[in-house]
Symmetry: C2
Subunit: 190 residues, 2 copies
């Protein structure tokens, strides 16, 4: 398979909005997408699934996709928490996590004192985004002079037809307060 | 009295950090400031007291200042909530308020349905800055296509020696999510 005259070795596919869309009863396959992915796989094109979804673990994403008719090995799915986990390991970071509880499995929350954190990681923490937790994240960055990582920088998404703030606005809040840009980890933005 | 060759008709004084500083037992007069303000008043210079403090009503500010040795009529003190109240009246706004409970006295919280709000007003809401309230503010701006007012845009302040997020980061969060700049109401920034 070629594109603009160049041989295609692999394809990165977004998950939400490309393979599935949310519905009242959870994510549902978008018509035609299951067949399209299968056609790529049958043509021996390497397919990887990337997402800025930070409310699910890698396993939960794979289970959901398989339940919708897709097939892939677990290793082909890349949520930002996984990319973050490899940065944590490589840089030997001790993160203060402000993320969705579901996402804790893919990361590691060290049991240390406030002074020992070496970075702050923000995910789509939903109800964990309260004044107390945001203040704590802010103080860790300021007092420990350490970086802020954001698992994506989406503005908002729709859930059951209702607008819902994503991780981006909370990253923007801490960027404004601390005068430091966040390091965004996840699928490339537009 | 003249300054750079021009006659001075009046002086605007900030309150926190100029007249008083916070201490464990509440705000305390900064040495020399009581005398300096009195000297201005004795010289018949018009003095007005401006502040971005949005955790106190005008009356509470005047009481605190008088308790620290300052004298002024109530009308000489201008918290942003008062400036906001006059904008609300002039523009006949129906605001969704996300402000400190103490500040509600200077504003007016209309009892209306979500669809009827015509603006969002953010103050230093402290613990009221939770995911549910921020989401509601966001949805009012998006769904009703209406402006965001911020009572100041301070990044953070110190309280009992501890760093604390101010209203600015939360205004920045909603600006990022909605792609609209906030209208900042309060004392001029630097």
């Amino acid at each position: 398979m070629t594109f603009n005259g160049r041989k295609i070795k692999g394809v990165l596919l977004d998950i939400t909005g490309v393979l599935v869309e949310s519905s009242g009863s959870g994510p549902k396959a978008i018509p035609g997408s299951v067949e399209a992915v299968k056609a790529l796989q049958d043509a021996s094109i390497a397919v990887r699934f990337v997402t800025n979804e930070t409310q699910r673990t890698r396993i939960s994403l794979v289970t959901m996709l398989r339940g919708n008719g897709y097939s892939m090995p677990v290793e082909a799915v890349f949520p930002p928490a996984l990319a973050m986990a490899s940065i944590i390991k490589k840089e030997q970071l001790r993160p203060f996590l402000l993320v969705h509880p579901n996402c804790l499995y893919d990361l590691q929350s060290p049991k240390i004192t406030d002074e020992e954190y070496t970075c702050v990681i923000l995910g789509d923490a939903v109800d964990e985004f309260n004044y107390s937790n945001l203040n704590k994240a802010f103080k860790v960055i300021m007092n420990n002079n350490c970086p802020l990582y954001a698992l994506g920088k989406g503005k908002y998404y729709r859930e059951d037809g209702d607008l819902t703030l994503d991780v981006g606005p909370f990253a923007a809040a801490l960027e404004f307060a601390t005068d430091r840009p966040a390091v965004v980890v996840g699928k490339p933005s537009r």
